[in-house]
Each structure stands twice: as C-alpha cells, then as structure tokens.
C-alpha cells in the first residue's frame, strides 16, 4: 500500500527546486511550464519504504487546471500520509494563498484526516536576516490558527541555507513510527562498536533520520554536506548506470564507512582509524539484521494503525 506525500503550493513557490534538491533529480529542460505540474505520473521516487512523492500546483490561473484539480480532488487527496504545503514568503497575494491552503485542508479533512500537515515558509533568504524570525512567527500564528482543527507544523526554509535540509529531516523524523526505539538502538550500536559518530540516513534522500554523537564535532553543517556530496556521487554513478552501494574513506585521523543498512536506510559510521575495517564491516552486517527487524515491526505497526 503506497501512501502519498503531497508537495503542494502555488506555482513558482519552489516546489520543483525543493524536490530536485532533496531527491537529487536533475532540473529538467522544461522548468518554465505553461501549466501546472501534473507530477503524479512521473514521480517514481519512493522513500521511507512505502511513501511516494506527488507534486501539485495549487491555485494556478489556468481554468483547465483548476477544473482538473477540482474533478480529481478526491483522488488526489486519498491515502495521503503527509501534506507539505509551500508558501512563498515574498508572495503578494497572501490572502489568496491562505484561501488555497484552506481548500486543501478541507480536502484532507475529508479524504485523509490522519495526514500530518507541514507548512514551509520558503525563500526566506530573500528576507533580511533580522526580520526573519518576526515574519516567520507571524505566518506561523496565522497558519496554526487557520488550520484548526488540524494541526500543522511550520518551518521556515530556504534552499540556500541549512533550513531546508533540517525541515525535511524533521519531517522524515516525524514520519518514522518507532523513532525513539531506533535512536536507542543506534546509541547502543555506537557504543558497542566504539564509533565517534553514527548517522542513519534515509535511503532515497539521504536526510538524516537519527544520529548518535559520541565525540564532539565542530561543523554543524556536516549532515547536509555529506548528504549533498553523496547525492552528487549517486548522480554521477547513475550516468554510468551504476548504483552506489557503499564507501569507505580513511585517513590517519578517521575512518568513515557508508553502507546500505536496511531497506530504507543507509548508515554512516565515523570511527578511529586504528580499528580495522573488517571489524566495523562485520559489526554493520550483524547490526543490519537487528535494525531490519525493527523496521519490519514498525511497518506492520503503522499498517495496523491505518
């Protein structure tokens, strides 16, 4: 059973860029679309096992698109696990935006009342730094108010700072049913193998699901950077019709291992270079079984609750 993650918002609010960055898709030639994105047919991107991303333009000017949207409404909003609504912070038609947002919420309420709602106030880099918090708080208040009785979580994002990555990581974090258990297991795992840090990445997007840090590290942006680098590498690999599976990086100061973990995750282990690779690889192999079991349990759990 596939569940949808709806990525919605006004045309031009930055959804395609967001999707391209998070899911490492090339920007296609036809970004200047004349009509709204009908992305359902093209989204083969699955993440977190059973989730599929659908992109929809909301509030387009074309009557044709409006009609399609309205007539297909129920179809679109059925089986939705997550609604991510993108607001362009620079939009001049705030009321109209809110209006479209509300109509989406109505549809959600009718068709997928259990769906989690996230609102992204996007393109925040265009706002002057000292005003960002203020503007965000204002919008957040309005949105929370408007969304009642549904609950929405708001993030402020920009593709040019770490906020986008963090917002999406938070979203993914909230979607994992037994995430606390996962974190505990990860902690345990890190202690056993004596790693400096262990990260758990979502497989398709390399968003950090969880991490256990046993040694302090100064670079706060390291998750996003690693994620970007690996996604670039995956793009290069795909040009050769090869698939990235694992990587080991060593120097005299550290050893890093990136490997497939479970069907939905990748693991990255930073350890002391003195520890031989084989030891760590064996540990990963053994841990895999345990975490896969965890994942299967959580999947059946979430299936049962639906």
């Amino acid at each position: 059973m596939l569940y949808k993650v709806l990525l919605m918002g006004k045309s031009g609010s930055g959804k395609t860029s967001m999707r391209s960055i998070i899911f490492a898709n090339y920007i296609a030639r036809d970004t200047r679309r004349l009509g709204a994105t009908i992305d359902v047919e093209h989204s083969h991107v699955r993440f977190l096992g059973n989730l599929v991303l659908n992109l929809w333009d909301c509030g387009g000017q074309e009557a044709f698109m409006e009609n399609y949207f309205v007539s297909q409404r129920d179809n679109i909003f059925r089986n939705v696990e997550v609604l991510i609504y993108v607001f362009d912070v620079e939009s001049r038609e705030i009321d109209k935006d809110m209006h479209y947002y509300q109509s989406c919420l109505e549809a959600i309420l009718e068709n997928s009342p259990e769906a989690k709602i996230f609102c992204l106030i996007h393109k925040m880099d265009l706002i002057q730094e000292d005003q960002r918090d203020l503007i965000f708080r204002e919008r957040e208040e309005d949105l929370k108010r408007l969304s009642k009785p549904l609950e929405c979580t708001c993030f402020r994002t920009s593709i040019w700072d770490e906020t986008l990555y963090r917002a999406w990581s938070s979203i993914v974090y909230m979607l994992i049913p037994n995430v606390k258990e996962l974190e505990q297991s990860l902690n345990h795992f890190a202690n056993i193998i004596d790693a400096d840090e262990v990260l758990l990445f979502e497989r398709a997007t390399f968003l950090v699901i969880s991490h256990c840090q046993r040694r302090h590290h100064r670079d706060v942006h390291r998750f996003e950077k690693v994620s970007n680098i690996i996604k670039q590498f995956k793009l290069s690999c795909s040009k050769l019709a090869a698939q990235f599976q694992s990587m080991e990086v060593r120097n005299s100061n550290f050893a890093a291992f990136i490997d497939v973990f479970t069907s939905n995750t990748y693991v990255m282990i930073m350890s002391d270079p003195a520890i031989p690779s084989e030891a760590t690889l064996i540990n990963i192999r053994n841990a895999r079984k345990h975490f896969e079991k965890l994942e299967r349990v959580s999947q059946t759990q979430s299936a049962l609750t639906k």
């Binding site: 395609t16 040019w160 700072d161 974090y173 974190e183 969880s210 680098i229 793009l235």
Partner: protein, 583 residues
Amino acid sequence: MLDKIEPPRPYTWRSSADQTTTDSGSESHPLMSSDASRRSFGATCMFPDSETSDFEATAPSTQAPREPTPTPAARAANPRQLASARRPFSYQNHQDQLADATYNRFHYYNKLRSYAPYEDSTLMIPDHVIPLPVFIPFIPGQERNTQKQSSLVTIFAVWNTVMGSSLLTMPWGIERAGFVTGIILMALMGGICLYTTYRLLEINKIHGAGIVDGEVADLCKLLLGRPAEIIAKFFSLIVLLGANIVYWILMTNFLYHSVDYIYERAAGIPIEPLIMNDTLSTLVLCPREKNNTIPENIVESESIYSQVWNINVTVPVFLVLIIGPLINFKSATFFTKFNSLGTLSVLYLVLFVLIKAISWGINVDFTNVSSPLYAPSFLPSFPALSGMLALSFFIHNIIISIMRNNRNQEKNGRDLSIAYILVTLTYTFIGAVFYISFPLKKSCISDNLLNNFQNWDVMTVAARMFLFFQLVTVFPLIAYMLRVQVMGILFKHSEPGFVNILAFNVLVVAICVLFAVLLPRIGTIIRFTGALSGLIYIFTLPSLLHLASLRIRGELTIPILIIHLIIPIFGGGNLIAQFFVSE
C-alpha cells in the same frame, strides 16, 4: 533528534558586510544586481585559500564543476603532505563554516543544473547568498589594471610590430635616395608617421571611448562617414596583401639559396673562384652586374637540378607545398607562439650588418665623383626611399589596439615617441652602416641585402635559413588576418565555409606566386604598397580625422586646416613619384 541539532546561528557574515559601503539598514538587496554577475560566480569562483578553510586544492575551472568533489577527507590522504598541514574541518570562525556550507550547496545545485538550459535560473546562486570573501572590491573611479601592459612592454610591442620586411631593403633605399637625403628622409618620414599616429591616438581618446575594440576604420565611420570607413578597411587589406607578396618573394629567395647551398655542399661543387681581382669581391656580389661578369671558365651548367630548382620559375611554386597547408587552419593562434622569432631576426640582422661592416671597414667617398665608392648626397630616385619608408613605419591600422593596453594611458605619447625613435635608429643603423661600409659600387646594393653575399658565406646561409623559418611562421598569420577581414566583409553574419576559405587562399597564393615569378623585386613592391597605403593611412585619414574632430569641437582654424591639407598632398606626391623612379 531536534534537541541534538544546534539551533541555527544567525548569519554573521552580514556584520562584516556592514563595514562595506552597502547600506544595511534597508531591505535586503543583492550586492550586485546584474544577471551577468550570477554567471560570473561560477566563472570567478575562487574561494580564498585561507589558512582557515579547507577548499578544493585545485581552482575550479571557468565552468561550474560537473564532477563531484571528493570529500576533503578522501583527498587529503595525509594531512602532513599538504604544504601547510591543515587539518580538515579546522575552521577558525563561523563565517568560514558558513561559506563552506554555501559552497557545498552551490556545488551540488550546479550538478543538478547540468541539463538545464543556460538561461534557466533555477537553482542558480543569487548574489546575496554569495559569501563576502568571494567578492573583489570594486572601487568606482579606479580602473582595474589587471590586463594592462607596462610602458616598457608597450614600447617593445610597437617596436616589434613596426619592424618588418623592409629591414633587408633599407640599405637599398638609402642608396636610391643618396646618403644625406636618405638620412633626412628617414627622420622626416619617421616624424610624420609619429605625428599622424599620435593624432590617431588622440582622436581615439576623444571620440573612440564608446567603441569596443575600435580602430581607425571605426573612427572614420564616426567622423567622416561610411565611405571613409570602407576606404580605411580596403587599404588596410592592401597593406596585408603587399606584405604577403613581399614575404613570398623573400621566402622563395631564402628557400632557393638554402637548398642551393645544401645541394652544392652535397654535390661537392667547389666554391666559385674569383670573379674579379679584388679580394673583397669574393665575399660580396653585385647581382646587378652578374650577367656581365661570367668568366669563360665557369660554365652555366644546365643540369637537371638547375632546371628543376629555379629561383624564378619553380621555387615559388614549390613553396606552395610548404605554405599551402599552413594557411588553411581555421585559427592562426598557433603561429603567434613564434612571435619572438621576429625580434630575434631583427637582432641577428643588426649583428650581421655590424660584423660585416667591421670586416669591410668604411668604404665611402662623398666628394670624388669618379671613385667607385662615390656616395652621392642626393639622387633623383629618392621617392623610392620615401615610398618604402611609408611601409617601414606603418603601424597606423593597429596602433590604437596596441596602445589600448598601455597601463598609463597618459604616457601614450611619450611611449609612442620612444618606440618610433628606436625604430628609426634601428633602420638608420642597418641602412647607413651597411651603405657606408659596402665595399663595391653603391649602386650594387641589392634590395635584399643578403643577395649581396656569396652563397657559401656562413652568416648569410644561417641568416637565410633562420629568416626562412621565421617568415614561414609569419606568413600564415598575415594571410589569416587578411582572410578574416575579407571574409568579415563578404560574409558578415555567417561562418565562411571551408570551400570559401580554400578559394580565398588559392587566390592569395596565386597572386603571390605570380609576383614571385614575374616581378620578384621586393624594392618595387614595398615602395608602391607603402606609397599607396601610406597615402591613405599615414597622410590622409589622420589629417582628415583631426580636421573633422576639430570642426566638431569648433576649434578649427585656417592655419591648422592648411597644414593638415598639405600633408595628404605630400602623400599624393609620394605616390605619383613612385612611377617615375628608376631602379
């Protein structure tokens, strides 16, 4: 997990931005507003390689990098091997961390844009996101001197460019004019050329500021109208064509003699015995009188070799085999690498003349008319020299471009004068010294001074071979310039096909070969080309441009008008006189 991630700190690079002149109080606006600046971030992305940051060791190329960067960890196999032994991720400040994160994103997003059309600005880094250290401060009012040349380099460039084919012809020119007249004419022509060149630069300074890569033709169009522009372009072509023809003849000459020398050496033919009793004449020839002095015991051998390898008929055609392929390249930039050979050849010739002069001593008699060494002070054939000098001092069609790169534009006049003085001195040295020390009758001096030497004279052999090679690298350049200009006129908006290029090259080579076969006298060609293009470029156009400029500015006075109309008349006289010169 949310608790473990530290809250985002406010961007602190903004605070250093407050120290610049950008006004920070108002709404955020990009530091640079043009679209071009967006592209240039990819082009000029040179993240400062400070001790604190750990960026790519190799500077990114002009295109945004397409390949993934290896993680700094992977690249630095051993930090001790790095020159400064930087530890990865050792940022000293928050600002560098942010800059590095921005660079990482920029890199990744650029890869995502690989297949997007160029105009698409999706995921292109906006100006306000670019970290401050990347910017080069632009202080308005101060020109960026990144690509300018110092005065010394400019002077040298002018000297090098002016020095041309007429170096070998200079002694002949002085002979044709008479010694004293020759020197005076040299100074006079040098002075006029300097003046008119300077005028061109001044006019360009006043009127040519808006024209990108402007030259004389553009100034003509601006001040004198379209017909003047066409004339300017046409006569620029004449110069190039004339130079090509002269080079072809010279190359024929050098090739012939070089191969002759090698053949004679290989075939064991003995050195030609004395033609005259005078020992000096074993070293020096008088080509003019060669036909009258063949002694009986030298038989003109009608060998197959001399039938096949004939300077007047076959060698010009054989030259096509060598030069032909070279001129068909799409771009001649390869040949610019040999620019330095030109300077070397000038220096070698100066040395050559000096050595020969020292070995001959002074052989000139200004008073005794009956002496074989009589050197007249004045000859009615002096226009030969003035015509020739018009080409020798010619630089008017590219001087603006050369001087544009001068770092101190105010010193243009000074630098130009120095360059012209050096040119005049060089020419005078070669011409006068050779003339004074030449041991035979002065009228024997050939229009290619190397022709005055025996085939087996080592320095001459070396000179011919070296000069041949040098000309082989210069000819394609000149032919290319000629081709580009003609094609630019004929095919204004389209790329000329290979067939057109080939046809054009065939035409040019045919003209060169014809001249080499029928009229291989470089003295004649140089003086006619010089007088013709000199009339336009040296005398007429600069004067007219100056008058037009003055008129626009309302500063035209009658005396200036008269002077600047006399100059073209002088040029016209120069041209007409060429037809009455006896050689």
